[in-house]
Amino acid sequence: MATEATAVKTSARRKQRTKLQETWRRLKKNHWSMGGLILIVLLGLVAIFAEQIAPYGYNEQDYMNMLQGPSRQNLLGTDNLGRDVFSRIIHGSRLSLSIGFITTAIGLSVGGFLGALAAFYGGRIDNLIMRFMDVILAIPGFIFAIALVTALGPSLTNLMIAVGINTIPYFARIIRSSVMSTKENEFVEAARVIGSSDLWIIFKHLIPNSLAPILVQATLRIGDTIIIASGLSFLGLGAQPPLPEWGALLSAGRGYLRVAWWMATFPGIAIMITVLAFNLLGDGLRDALDPRLKN
């Protein structure tokens, strides 16, 4: 009996792995997505080794060297306090990437849980949860985030909470529809028969089976949340000075647009490259996981 169970388990696991390998094989053929993936890895390395890469500290001021254009000493110029723009962008990568990942993680965990509950129990619970999601979606996301930051007060943490809450409905909807279609499978009934609890079935059987759409949605959401978060920082509602969050850098550069174009130009390029990388990977994943395109 025990050996039979392990046999079933290993064969199931092997099948899972081949599905993953199959996705990876198809993803590898897509040069654009691989480019995106490589970029994301590079950005991650930059964020981890920011201290080593950046020639100056992010708040290292030099009053003899203010608003200087790009040069050998300051690759991307200096800002109004003589700080090295290149170093600030490098340090900022930590903030912007964490914002992207943490907000998406908030949306994914809360939204995923709510969506799974809604689909699993159906009826009144489903109605209650999903109507609440409709309400959140009826308020334009960026504006809802402004309302939340107003209530919580402007800071980096509150920014992440506000933008994270914003992404909840998207994950709730996706996981709901995915769980709806998998919960009718026989293995769910089997799990119930052997006495698994509802939560166990949801977390152990239903959510892992919805991994493909979650992965695509999460990858594309990270790019979106980085843009929303930097927009809030741009309005002064997110990261506060002297933190080198990219949106905040742009906001500071706006005041010096006429005298120091580099202050606003380069942080924007950093945001664009990062978001582009996640979009490229997300598009590729969607195609690789789309059963209709399988051949």
Partner: protein
């Protein structure tokens, strides 16, 4: 058709009531006392207390919410905490600029997006297709406030330094020349998004049997693409563009900020900074209502394009 419109209008009501509740609750739990904000920090305690009583701030939460809803149906959104004028009037002063900007942006987005999408799909795998898709990808990855600053840099600052005059003014509102840059800045992300859906939707439709039939009847390529394919291909485009209109509304807040446009978004940011909660509350509700109305319009447009919906509600 009338029954369809009525049904959609009625289904909007519970969602909007939910929105009023969420927005009211957020502002209710925001720290800061509206009565103190209205009267100023130096006002005597007794005065503040009287004001609190008059504004109904001492009532229980649900009573306050009920009064808020009652006011809302009479278009009374309370008083602005900084000027003391009705919130409704303050919003109405700023609404036209926002609508003009959003309208111009969506026009730019549809014109560029649908055209580029058609070109890309009818010339799949050519350099036109690749180029359009790459630019569209850049467009969805670019923060619009950065694009705005770059356009100001090029068309106002550099242009002025080189040619001695400003091509497009970087701030102010009123003339068409003032509207060009903001509309492009706000419309770009949407245009990129529409390009991407138009292309994939067109590609799907162009593979259908009825398209082959149309071609084999000997119809010209132009008629097949623009008459037979486009009408069906536009349906998902209309739906998705409507759903994403919220992103455009959000973007208008930042765009108004950059180009100093006296719209609702600028008022929102000012009110957040001055802790003018009644005004923040009113503005957010107005945005949600605009968004819902746009989605209603999209649904109606959808019914107009798709005869099957009309038949259902005969």
């Amino acid at each position: 058709m009338f029954r369809y419109i009525a049904k959609r209008l009625i289904s909007m009501v519970p969602v909007l009531i939910g929105v009023t509740f969420v927005v009211f609750a957020i502002m209710y739990f925001t720290p800061g006392d509206p009565a103190t904000l209205l009267l100023g920090e130096e006002a005597p305690q007794a005065e503040v207390e009287r004001m609190r009583e008059r504004m109904g701030l001492n009532d229980p939460f649900l009573v306050q919410y009920g009064n808020f809803l009652l006011g809302l149906v009479q278009l009374d959104l309370g008083l602005s905490l900084t000027t003391g004028r009705p919130v409704f009037n303050e919003i109405m002063n700023r609404l036209p600029a926002t609508i003009r900007l959003a309208g111009a942006a969506i026009l730019v987005a549809i014109l560029i997006g649908v055209t580029a999408g058609i070109i890309a799909s009818t010339r799949q795998y050519t350099i036109y297709d690749g180029g359009a898709m790459f630019i569209a990808l850049l467009g969805v990855s670019m923060p619009n406030f950065w694009l705005g600053l770059m356009m100001i840099l090029v068309f106002s600052v550099f242009w002025n330094n080189t040619f001695g005059y400003v091509l497009f003014p970087s701030s102010g509102f009123g003339t068409l020349r003032h509207l060009v840059m903001p509309a492009i800045v706000l419309g770009t992300a949407h245009a990129a998004f529409i390009t991407r859906i138009t292309r994939s939707s067109m590609l799907e439709v162009l593979r259908q049997d009825y398209i082959r039939t149309a071609r084999s009847k000997g119809l010209s390529n132009r008629i097949v693409v623009y008459v037979h394919a486009l009408r069906n291909a536009l349906m998902p485009v209309v739906t998705m563009a409507g759903l994403r209109f919220g992103v455009l509304l959000g973007g208008s807040v930042v765009t108004e900020q950059i180009f100093a446009i006296p719209g609702m978004g600028r008022l929102l940011v000012e009110s957040v900074r001055s802790q003018n909660y009644t005004l923040v509350q009113g503005i957010i509700l107005t945005y949600a209502i605009i968004f819902s109305l746009v989605n209603l319009a999209v649904d109606l447009l959808y019914a107009a394009i798709d005869p099957r919906i009309k038949v259902q509600y005969k």
